[in-house]
């Protein structure tokens, strides 16, 4: 077997960084972008494989976007269509917004993966297949009547078929690894092949394997051997003609990291806590796809972060509210079903007027719905899903990295306006990644905290007094920490007057309900006006919120390239809307709203502004692709 010079370095030590990538790839045809989809059984390690390919591409300098897709079951029946787990990554030498329309390359580790994902692959695409898995049993489980590797059904594709399982075992046979264990490294064989084919630097994967499996020398050896065997196999198997390279993208100068939305959101909460100068408390109950925020924050106790895994969703939000009452930033993280359970406590937070951040990483609903698939169908429950008149601010994040800034904004509004805030993310944002140019922490917004420490009013006789619900010009009440001398008082969910004490006076209730609503509405004064993107003289605007931003941006760009004028608005603030929003919308002839729901924002636009918003909807547990949006936006305009 041929060992390339750079491979020798890996064996000898880690001090040499990969410097020869440029050199050894100089002959390889360049492409602007590729979309690779890794698909296999949920036990095959496809998420990890995709993640490593992504990391290597990020370090290589590509722009990228990822879409992990996996079943809800930890181990769905092996070899079945239901058990297929996939990871799609789009890498490019230019700025991109989405994981792409259709993969050009499909890595299929078994017949089920091929069956499930072949329809997604572009015409004449490349299929990299583990032929060892195509035995009668697996073919039968996937519903194939004949072996697609042997009949003509894959004739339209470029098929690279490799006996990955047996070659991995072979590569590991002298290492003292049991064959059964060796087999588990076959995903690294696949990664080795794909890394060679697309000229990815191998060093980051080597380093990662050694770090990740530290102390498990046999696992390290097996994974490295499999990875190298895949790389060598590809090189020797006459695949030179298929080799491509995607050059680094010309992104803005800076330091980049590849980030997913849940991590960015966690860091944003920590940043919000830093900007406000008060500690963070997270009350949370594990739920897909939000649990990773709990995991991430639990790592950062040295920031003074208190994470509390509560007994249920209700205790999670209750404990967060208790923490806010005590002067911390109370946060609770969940997904749709959990938001429903928290509803009553959020109503209490509206009544108590205390800061609280509720993060909903949305998934397909109702009920258990599609726990591992994305959807944006919790807008209405966020806006209205409480008893009584209980308005609260609702904001959304629009890209994985944007989750960082959205979290800071949620903390800002909650702390400065003493109100619960719902931040909507979704599974696609939470698990998807993108390169993020790290911000300077000096540029982060300031968050002002004022605890009341003494009397805030003078009574009719001229004596100092203290009114817990006396409001400032934004109609915000003071935040009073228990323990403050002289300010002991009681608050509660029963209607109250300025003193915080119970009041059943009819006119007081109407006053309080209207005041609470006006309080939330006035938050708009702190929101910058919208400046639409795209053509200033367009008659048509495409309006979005949440994770559709990438697909809408790409689609609007493509349509404009064809010569049609289009404007684009993407909302961060959904309640209250930015101050100029209504006027702006009324200035367009056509407002088109793509959403991953049945048209919830469109409904809201119609109700609030009497604007004839046109919906484009998709409820398949998958994000829009730019191509389908182009088609549907054009259809809508031409209708």
């Amino acid at each position: 077997m041929v060992i390339r010079s750079n491979d020798a370095e890996y064996v000898e030590g880690k001090e040499t960084v990969v410097t020869d990538t440029e050199e050894r790839t100089s002959e390889i045809p360049e492409v602007e972008r590729i979309i690779v989809r890794f698909a296999g059984d949920s036990g095959d390690g496809m998420q990890l494989t995709g993640d490593r390919f992504t990391a290597a591409s990020a370090l290589f300098g590509n722009d990228l976007a990822t879409l992990p897709e996996y079943p809800a079951e930890i181990r769905a029946p092996a070899g079945t269509l239901a058990g297929v787990s996939a990871f799609q990554v789009h890498i490019a030498d230019h700025d991109i917004n989405t994981p792409g329309d259709s993969p050009g390359v499909l890595v299929a580790m078994n017949p089920a993966a091929l069956k499930a994902d072949l329809p997604k692959v572009v015409e004449h695409g490349t299929l990299i297949i583990n032929s060892d898995a195509f035995d009668e049993r697996n073919l039968h489980k996937a519903g194939y009547e004949s072996n697609p590797l042997e009949d003509d059904s894959l004739a339209g594709y470029q098929v690279i078929s490799a006996p990955m399982t047996s070659l991995t075992k072979e590569a590991c046979k002298d290492l003292g690894v049991k064959p059964r264990d060796a087999e588990r490294s076959k995903n690294f064989f696949a990664l080795g092949m794909v890394s060679w084919l697309y000229s990815r630097p191998t060093r980051p994967t080597h380093d990662w394997i050694e770090e990740k499996f530290k102390g498990k020398d046999l696992v390290i050896a097996a994974n490295l051997a499999a990875f190298k065997a895949g790389d060598v196999y590809a090189e020797n198997a006459d695949l030179w003609a298929s080799r491509r390279i995607v050059r680094p993208a010309h992104l803005a100068p800076g330091t980049y990291t590849n980030i997913n939305g849940n991590t960015a959101l966690s860091w944003g909460l920590i940043a919000g806590s830093r900007q406000a100068g008060i500690p963070l408390f997270l009350g949370s109950y594990p739920i897909t796809p939000a649990s990773d925020i709990l995991h991430e924050l639990a790592k950062h106790r040295n920031f003074g972060v208190r994470t509390f895994q509560a007994e249920d969703e209700i205790a999670a939000v209750g404990s967060a509210l208790g923490a806010s009452y005590g002067g911390h930033i109370g946060v609770t993280t969940t997904s749709g079903p959990g938001l429903a359970l928290k509803s009553e406590t959020i109503g209490l937070a509206v009544s108590l007027e205390l800061p609280l951040v509720i993060v909903d990483v949305q998934r397909g609903g109702p009920s258990t719905g599609l726990p591992t698939k994305t959807e944006a169908s919790d807008l209405m429950i966020a806006l209205y899903g409480r008893h009584g008149e209980a308005p609260l601010p609702v904001i959304s994040s629009s890209t994985p990295a944007d989750c960082f800034f959205a979290a800071i904004e949620a903390v800002r509004i909650a702390v400065e306006y003493r109100t619960p805030v719902i931040l909507l993310s979704d599974g696609y944002l939470g698990n998807g990644t993108e390169p993020w140019r790290l911000p300077s922490i000096n540029d982060l917004p300031e968050i002002k905290v004022n605890y009341l420490t003494g009397p805030n009013h003078v009574d009719a006789e001229g004596a100092d007094e203290f009114l817990p619900y006396l409001r400032d010009e934004t109609l915000t009440r003071p935040w009073i920490l228990p323990g403050t001398p002289g300010l002991a008082h009681r608050i509660g969910g029963i209607e109250k007057d300025e003193t915080g004490n119970i009041s059943y006076v009819p006119a007081n209730h109407e006053h309080m309900v209207r005041t609470r609503a006006e309080h939330i509405a006035r938050i708009a004064d702190s929101i910058p006006p919208i400046v639409p993107a795209g053509d200033a003289d367009a008659d048509v605007v495409v309006l979005g919120w949440g994770s559709t931003r990438g697909a809408i941006t790409a689609a609007v760009g493509r349509i404009r390239k064809k010569g049609r004028k289009l404007a684009r608005i993407h909302l961060r603030h959904i309640n209250p809307f930015p101050p100029n929003f209504g006027d702006l919308l009324r200035g367009y002839e056509t407002v088109i709203v793509p959403e991953m729901n049945m048209g919830q924002l469109a409904h809201e636009i119609r109700a609030d502004f009497l604007v004839d918003a046109r919906s484009i909807t998709k409820i398949m547990g998958q994000p829009f692709t730019p191509a389908e949006l182009v088609e549907r936006i054009e259809e809508t305009i031409d209708a």
Binding site: L59, W267, F281, H300, N302, R306, G322, A323, P482, G483
Partner: protein, 337 residues
Amino acid sequence: MPETATTTRKDWVSDQEVRWCPGCGDYGILLAVQMAMTELGNKPDDTVFISGIGCAARFPYYMNTYGIHSIHGRAPAIASGLALTRPDLDVWVVGGDGDILSIGGNHLIHAIRRNINLTILLFNNRIYGLTKGQYSPTSEEGKITKSSPMGSIDHPFNPISLILGADATFVARTHDMDRKHMIEMFKRAHDHKGTAVVEIFQNCNVFNNGAYGQITSKGAREEMIIDLHDGQPIRFGAEGRHGVIVEHGVAKVVEVADVGVGALTVHHHDNPDPSVAFALSRLASNPDAPTPMGVFRDFERSEYGSVLNAQIAQAIADKGPGDLDTLLHGLPTWEID
């Protein structure tokens, strides 16, 4: 813990008119809590009462302390978040049997197993009062109420058994007819580090009058209340003529004359094995038999908030205080010029 202060009962009385029904047992409990507070040397400004919903849950409005009258059942959860972030405060939870054992039962048992520093006062009147008289999770089987016209089918909780089953480090029982005993129990519960629960037999004179009359009325107490004293044989009745023996996990009432004092079970509230306390809690499943009062268990186990704060201190010692810029650079990064 807050520093001690000299207060009078008046310092603990809020300006709100108390609105329980005349004759309600809650009045006596309120007074006893206020007196316990002065005796403890607590400061109103460092004290927080958190309640859920129900008659008992109006309690915070009547205390001149910080307080939240929250939502049904959730007081232990809200109080947990407060206690974990503000260990400097003295956090109390007040609720009835419906609030704490029914809709909030889950939060009760989880607060207890975590051993968060809370003092929980469980007003047990064995009825829903504020909703006007439905059976509660502690109502006896067969009870005729508005929602059980043919008699309740529900088997009731034995609160002390439930609380011990959740691995409580402190649980005591008292009743609304004995102010001195209530004050003592509240003080003991307050001084316990961890979750302390006090079950208070409380009379609802409107919807369940006399629920505990057979044991708490003046004439009945001597023969029907078994006072638990740490380190002493369990005896009750005139001249201590009855006693209790716990054998093979079962408690039974005996005559001292028959068995001798030496045969009686000696009560140790800090017994690491909760099974004796559990057996005592099973002695009377209804208030029609001799019923133990006092501290069933007062045992030390690590308190959640202390460990949480120790973890924070440890993390800071190990990694240094959190630095946001370092955090943002914590995953692999690359430079673009």
